[in-house]
């Protein structure tokens, strides 16, 4: 190549700035630039652009960033404990565990309640647990029907128990001094962060962010929400507003799927705030005492909100 034309010269600009062109090509480029005003102008623009980029300085991060990371890690820990509460044994569970399941299936409501109260004291002490909840399937409750907005609350849709499949469930003992990350690695099913979910046969198939980042690992679980709230609105602004409000409320651990489906994990005491956010007159369902948990205020609920 003895000369250069204007057409392809820009392709060499980056390599030229990084001093990656061979000597011969660099000389040809410089020679062309010295004789072609149009290309020289483009070269000047590029140099100026790079100079401006170089002037962009890093913004200092907030001072509480690290503290917030530990707060989130702690929240995940609490969250995973909550999940442990509701997990089911997997289909390959041992015969004694299967027998236990059958016995429980025939037990009455009072026995259920006693069982939950007992479990509240020792939630993390067993290798595997089989929990079940009473099926309080309720009729659909229509709320606030207006020409443009209508709301309905479905409590436990097609409820088949709060299901969380655990392939293995080696738990962290209370006095464990193991490194948290190691525990996380070994018992990943128990500590997965749920950040995505999808509906399949009325169950939510949840998967953790680790699955996205580390393909090939099985982080999928099935969950059924305590409440499923369907909001119907013809107004896009209302839809956007509610979506933003739901996602902004970090203490509800909001997760979004496909723009119209949200999964929230919140304390039972937050239900009123959720009700206000969604402009619902009330959120129907059984009294909170029906939900298992260490205490009234600590009861965590899983709420699915669909905006149609």
């Amino acid at each position: 190549m003895n000369t250069m034309d204007c057409k392809n010269i820009e392709e060499l600009f980056s390599a030229y700035t990084e001093k990656e062109l061979d000597a011969q090509t660099a000389v040809l480029l410089e020679s062309h630039l010295s004789t072609c005003k149009a290309c020289m102008r483009e070269w000047d623009y590029l140099k100026e652009t790079l100079q401006w980029i170089a002037c962009i300085e890093h913004v200092p991060p907030p001072s509480d960033l690290l503290a917030g990371i530990h707060e989130k890690l702690e929240q995940r820990n609490i969250f995973s404990r909550f999940i442990n509460w509701f997990r089911y044994a997997n289909p390959t569970m041992s015969i004694p565990a299967a027998a236990m399941t059958v016995l429980l299936a025939f037990a009455g409501m009072s026995l259920y309640k006693n069982f939950f109260q007992h479990q509240a004291d020792i939630p993390f002490s067993k290798e595997t647990q089989t929990l079940n909840l009473a099926d309080n399937k309720a009729d659909l409750k229509p709320y606030l029907n207006t020409p443009t907005n209508s709301y309905q609350v479905i409590q436990k849709p097609d409820f088949q128990g709060f299901r969380f499949d655990v392939l293995h469930s080696r738990l962290q003992s209370k006095n464990s001094t193991n490194h948290p990350a190691s525990i996380n690695y070994n018992t990943r099913m128990d500590r997965g962060i749920i950040n995505g979910f999808e509906t399949q046969n009325n169950l939510f198939e949840a998967h953790s962010d680790l699955e996205d980042l580390l393909p090939g690992n099985n982080f999928r679980h099935h969950l059924t929400p305590d409440f499923m709230i369907t909001l119907k609105t013809a107004d896009p602004a209302t839809r956007t507003r509610i979506s933003q409000q739901l996602l902004a409320e970090k203490k509800w651990h909001p997760k979004m799927y496909k723009n119209d489906l949200f999964l929230l994990f919140l304390k039972s005491t937050e239900l009123t705030n959720l009700q206000n956010t969604l402009a619902l007159q009330e959120i129907g369902g059984p009294p909170f005492s029906n939900f298992p948990g260490p205490s009234n205020t600590d009861k965590m609920l899983m709420v699915a909100v669909r905006i149609q």
Partner: protein, 185 residues
């Protein structure tokens, strides 16, 4: 510095949680600014950065080569940023943000008159806005190279593309940015 990072990663694996804190403090500015370039809003960038480090904390035991921590961290960060950007875009989050939003800060060093600073701030804001409106693939490579100052090899690993592709894409991204800014310079 690379050896120190590797040592911190190994110490963390042995159970020293303080090493994780040191890793965060070392990388937080870069990751926070990377996040800021995607989500444009400080509170959102803070949350995104925290999520990135939470993932790093949880999945670090799976890192195969301790010496590749930096590339691995940026790989996780880019994936998180892309996911968050898509989610926010879906709900119209960016529609409510002004391109000249004061929440998208510009940092300037000293040594200039207030007028010069103001002028420079104005130009840098234009550059930042032009970058944020670039197509995702161009924007990513430009940020990684010209703002985050990663090496070609690191970018190749982070974006999982051959070295030659990195170079050609970077050139295209720079030319594209130049053309966007031409009318404003």
């Amino acid at each position: 510095m690379k050896n120190e990072i590797t040592e911190l990663v190994r110490a963390y694996r042995r159970g020293d949680t303080q090493s994780f804190n040191k890793l965060v403090l070392h990388y937080q500015t870069k990751i926070y600014n990377l996040a800021l370039n995607y989500v444009k809003q400080q509170e959102e960038a803070k949350d995104l950065t925290q999520e990135i480090f939470v993932t790093v904390y949880r999945s670090l035991p799976k890192l195969k080569d301790d010496t590749k921590f930096s590339s691995w961290l940026f790989q996780i960060a880019i994936n998180h940023c892309r996911n968050r950007y898509k989610k926010l875009q879906k709900i119209g989050f960016f529609n409510s943000l002004s391109l000249n939003d004061p929440d998208f800060p510009v940092m300037l060093s000293g040594g200039e008159t207030p007028e010069q600073k103001l002028e420079r701030k104005d130009v840098i804001t234009k550059v930042q806005n032009a970058i944020t409106t670039m197509p995702a693939a161009e924007k990513e490579i430009l940020i990684l190279r010209d703002i985050q100052e990663l090496s070609y090899d690191e970018i190749s690993t982070v974006l999982n593309v051959p070295l030659g592709t990195v170079k050609s894409k970077l050139n295209r991204a720079r030319i594209s940015l130049k053309n966007r800014l031409k009318s404003e310079m």
